[in-house]
Symmetry: C2
């Protein structure tokens, strides 16, 4: 992968911005019918009477779309984007049909591995925003990142 980043290329405070994705009600329903078949993700009428007051995307759909935004973003890591754990995952507000999402990631921590001299960990906070710049997902993830070969 050209211009891929190694552990040595990451600095606390760096930010990476993704492109954007617009979500349709069909996509919301298709994802939900497979992974999260609840009325407020499947049917406009049922959703109107629900907690959300209308059709909303599954939180896992928002998370999966955020992953897609990150994979396609400028956050290109040698060895690719591999998360081993999230310290935090929040859905501060729902995603609705027609919302356009983009993600902004900030490096919080860069740490060489004690047991694996060839790799380290980068902790990144990703916020996914809707078209009104309101956060719809906050994810703090620990990524495995290779060190630059010798």
């Amino acid at each position: 992968m050209a211009d891929a980043r190694y552990l040595e290329d990451f600095l606390v405070g760096q930010t990476f911005t993704s492109g954007s994705i617009t979500l349709t009600s069909e996509q919301i329903k298709t994802f939900a019918s497979q992974f999260d078949p609840q009325p407020f993700h499947l049917d406009e009428t049922a959703a109107t009477a629900s907690f959300f007051g209308g059709l909303v995307a599954s939180g896992w759909h928002t998370a999966a779309l955020t992953m897609r935004l990150l994979v396609d973003s400028e956050l290109k890591i040698a060895g690719r984007l591999i998360g081993v754990a999230a310290d935090e995952l929040k859905w501060p507000r729902p995603v609705r049909p027609g919302d356009t999402l983009h993600a902004v990631s900030e490096v919080l921590e860069v740490r060489p591995s004690k047991s694996r001299p060839d790799q380290g960990m980068v902790k990144v906070r990703t916020q996914t925003f809707n078209q009104g710049d309101q956060p719809v997902l906050i994810l703090v993830a620990n990524l495995v990142v290779p060190r630059r070969p010798g």
Copy 2:
């Protein structure tokens, strides 16, 4: 929803077990091509040379499948399964083609809301296991649960 549970029906230490799902390599690739298009999720040959040594499911695919297992499980909540945040999300080992997954959830905390007398929060730890009873996902989630009406 018949036999749906209200906040009053949850007790710390309760456990809920899901049914099971077996994952194919086609499903792994289909999910990945949409949400996590990285070589080790898309192509067996490329995956062999990767960090994982073979094709593995996207961690977000494992998370979405866990949601499906929970929605179909006996953890039936009045108002449905609505998570606002996860305190922890880990993928201790990858999911590979042919793996059969099931989830076990345990209630960690039950807390009425101070600001919303009609609802509360239930903190649940869900572990998703493969056919060898090895955990592939650990999720600690905070669920919004309605109180039993009047």
